[in-house]
């Protein structure tokens, strides 16, 4: 499943909406989108992953990349699918990011 990326900005929040599969071949595009979003110095970087069906280690590494590049930016996953949430937990990234649902 190809990956579509849609970046936007609302207030202090940079939002990157992702849809499809994030794997080794598509992760570089996500990284570029994250890089571009961080260049505007947002307080929050929100990755809307509700429509992401699979995320490989390459995708998770984009999060590490973002956190290392801008340690002060808060990183949030919006509505991750259960398998992605599980991977976040098992690898320990869960404690480094925020997970948000419908309410926010």
């Amino acid at each position: 499943m190809p990956l579509t990326i849609d970046s936007s900005r609302s207030g202090d929040r940079a939002v990157i909406r992702l849809e499809g599969t994030i794997d080794a071949s598509s992760a570089e595009r996500v990284r570029q989108a994250v890089d571009a979003a961080l260049a505007d110095h947002p307080a929050w970087l929100e990755l809307d992953v509700e429509q992401v069906v699979f995320m490989s280690s390459a995708g998770l590494r984009v999060v590490i990349f973002a956190k290392q590049k801008e340690p002060d930016v808060k990183i949030a996953f919006r509505k991750p699918q259960p398998p992605i949430l599980e991977t976040l937990k098992k690898t320990g990234f869960f404690s480094a990011v925020y997970v948000i649902g419908d309410e926010e």
């Binding site: 080794a24 280690s57 599980e86 991977t87 098992k90 320990g92 990234f93």
Partner: protein
């Protein structure tokens, strides 16, 4: 700022892959600007090719012959550009002579793994059945690893050696059982969920059974009678010294095993718990001449293995081959490996399996000054790491007390185990030895101190503590070897009947002996080591060699924590007392000349309170520990420790504490729950000038502070 560096351009191209002469160091696969650098040693090969795969694909992406001009000395290095490293697997194909009688065993038809592979494929989901039909295929494929983990300021803890309380555990067995209640049973992530339990227990160091990549399917078989799967559960058979066991990671199939393990280590450190790895450098998984060619054998057989003059494999490990650790090249690999784990994974120390082998020369003779052991002792990167030797091997070398230590190496103290076991059963003839064991074994380690002595009564290998007092004989039928395997010398005692029973008298005696064992561990000088589950009575049903069982037999049954809460509470109490009494953790032996204020002096006072009876038949030992004092006017701790291993009651005469305040009871294993262990602040006072200790009991008293 430089726009483009000119030293990383391709000079060659083949099959669409651009490459150039690589850097010879470091060995292995390393990320460089725009590519990956590969470097590998072989002194006897005539050619080398780098074989690249896409993960999961049977056919290689490309096979790049390393041009002759890329070899410097015996090292082939090649830098390849524009690789998708997340999905990359690689290996090498070497050509060279097959002349076993002279050493080399090259096989041009095989692809072999990188000795420096930072990660390995093939076994990334625990016990996922391999495809046996593809016979000789290259299975244990080398992978490239990213070093971008966010440690958030973590580094090894560097706890004082004598402050350690070690807990030996098997990553899978610790949480594999559903009773563990963790979300990812049997994994690094599962272990991470149990950190609060470890913290509450009070231990501050976990020693993990091997977590270097191994093949749980090695020599796997079905039990002839039960059909049960038997394999290599313990993991003492290394495939890759630099690669973590991927099957222990819940995320292994996502190739996130490195991150999951590092996350575990970071969180253990955040909770004040060190990590020691049990490392196996004495042999590899390639076995003898009948074994598979996975890596070393097909790269430089005569360098990596000890060979007889006829080219057969020496077998000092009992596992088919012997890693040639005092060859300078192999020694370099071992040092590189440990440096890698200490620096990249923040590992706090290493326990070396059958370490005496590391002190043998390439022909097997023990060396007086083994270069490898010396290198490790003085290594600048490992200088704060704990180095612990299992100071014997399967070739007959037994070096407890005489291991070449350079003032640096600690040892699993096998004599502590043997003496304490016999003492616990009430055997005569061991109180002289016990007097040394409780002091940290100055008879063995006079020039090194009590931090040398890893005191243990049980280990993964042998009976569990509960089984030590429930079985006279080993019961290894479940191993499918007709009960021939496993040690016959266990110094165990079943307390009256073999195995499980509901006889309340026998159960009470077993519990008391178990408490005695825990108390002896925690109140002796040196470093105590517990085995997972012993604190709440884990049993292997009398099996003293659980290496092949991945089942309830070898896993921790967490329901026992509730069932045997009395023992668990007692253990927690003793661990807490060890932490609360500094002189028990002194880096100097009792009565040491010089030393520090918080060192202890020891007097063996016996039952009279004035002198120990050292007669051979005596099974009662009592001593007094006196802390040398703290600052002016503040008295040091004083303790009375009484071991009555006799089957009758025993009166012990008490001399009053020098600092006043009277004696208070910390531990009395003759008492039931509630009276068996106290916190210092709650310790009840002793009335009168003597103490009546129950049959087969341990009593520990402490002087109150001026009250």
């Amino acid at each position: 700022m430089m726009e483009a560096r000119i030293d990383v351009y391709a000079t060659h191209e083949f099959g669409g892959y651009r490459f150039r002469h690589g850097k010879v160091l470091p060995f292995g696969a390393t990320l460089v600007d725009g590519g990956v650098n590969f470097s590998v040693f072989s002194s006897a090969a005539t050619s080398c090719a780098l074989v690249l795969f896409e993960k999961g694909s049977g056919e290689p992406l490309v096979e790049l012959d390393v041009p002759p001009e890329f070899r410097i000395g015996d090292v082939y290095s090649i830098m390849v550009f524009d690789l998708e490293i997340e999905d990359l697997e690689y290996g090498f194909r070497f050509d060279g002579p097959f002349e076993p009688h002279r050493g080399p065993r090259f096989d041009r038809n095989r692809i072999v793994a990188d000795p420096y592979a930072r990660a390995m494929g093939g076994r990334d989901t625990w016990r996922s059945e391999p495809d046996w039909s593809n016979g000789d295929a290259y299975v244990h494929r080398s992978r490239v690893v990213l070093d971008d983990f966010d440690w958030e300021g973590d580094r090894p803890l560097e706890l004082r050696t004598t402050d350690l309380i070690v807990y030996e555990l098997h990553v899978r067995g610790f949480t594999a059982d559903p009773s563990s209640g963790v979300s990812a049973p049997g994994t690094y992530a599962g272990l991470r969920e149990k950190i609060p339990y470890l913290k509450a227990l009070g231990i501050n160091c976990v020693e993990l059974l091997p977590i270097f990549e191994f093949d749980e399917w090695e020599n796997s078989r079905s039990h002839p009678a039960t059909g049960e799967w038997l394999g290599n559960y313990w993991g003492y058979s290394t495939l890759g010294f630099f690669a973590p066991k991927a099957g222990y990671a819940a995320t292994g199939s996502l190739a996130m095993d490195v991150d999951e393990l590092k996350t575990l280590i970071k969180e253990l450190h955040a909770n004040g718990i060190e990590i020691i790895l049990d490392v196996v450098f004495n042999h590899t998984a390639e076995g003898d001449h009948r074994g598979p060619t996975i890596s070393f054998r097909g790269i430089d057989n005569a360098t990596y293995y000890m060979l007889t003059p006829e080219g057969w494999y020496y077998n000092f490990s009992g596992c088919g081959n012997t890693f040639n650790c005092n060859n300078p090249v192999v020694r370099g690999l071992v040092v590189d490996c440990l440096r890698y784990w200490a620096s990249e994974y923040h590992i706090d120390g290493f326990r070396f399996d059958l370490a005496s082998i590391l002190g043998r020369d390439p022909h097997g003779a023990p060396l007086a000054n083994p270069p490898l052991l010396e290198s490790l002792a003085y290594d600048p990167i490992l200088s704060k790491c704990k180095l612990i030797a299992e100071a014997w091997d399967a070739g007959g070398l037994y070096q407890v007390g005489s291991f070449p230590a350079y003032g640096r190496w600690a040892e699993w103290n096998g004599k502590f185990r043997d003496n304490v076991r016999r003492f616990l059963k009430g055997e005569p003839g061991v109180i002289g030895d016990m007097a040394a064991r409780v002091q940290g074994s100055p008879d063995l380690y006079a020039d090194r101190g009590p931090g040398t002595s890893i005191n243990f009564i049980t280990a993964h290998d042998g009976f569990t503590l509960a089984d030590l007092f429930a079985y006279n004989e080993k019961h290894n039928d479940a191993n499918g070897e007709d009960n021939r395997d496993g040690s016959n010398d266990n110094d165990s005692w079943n307390c009256g009947t073999e195995g499980s029973t509901d006889d309340p008298g026998i159960l009470a005696l077993r519990l008391r002996l178990t408490k005695n064992a825990i108390a002896m561990l925690m109140f002796s000088q040196g470093i105590p080591m517990l085995v997972m589950g012993d604190e709440f009575g884990r049993t292997q049903n009398g099996n003293n060699n659980g290496y092949c069982h991945d089942s309830e037999l070898s896993w921790v049954n967490w329901a026992l924590a509730e069932k045997n809460a009395e023992l668990l509470n007692f253990t927690r109490g003793c661990v807490a007392l060890r932490q609360a009494v500094p002189m028990l953790r002194s880096p100097h032996f009792p009565n040491a000349l010089g030393g520090d204020d918080r060192d202890a002096d020891i007097d063996f006072v016996g039952t009279s309170g004035t002198g120990q009876d050292w007669a051979g038949w005596n099974t009662v030992l009592a001593y007094r520990l006196t802390e040398r004092g703290r600052e002016e006017g503040v008295p040091g701790d004083e303790m009375m420790v009484m071991f009555n291993m006799h089957w009758g009651d025993q009166y012990f005469g008490l001399q009053p504490p020098a600092g006043g305040g009277g004696w208070h009871v910390l531990v009395n294993t003759a008492m039931p729950a509630g009276g068996d262990v106290f916190r210092r602040l709650d310790a009840p006072a002793v009335e009168g000038p003597s103490f009546l200790a129950g049959p087969r009991s341990v009593v520990v008293l402490i002087a109150g502070f001026g009250s």
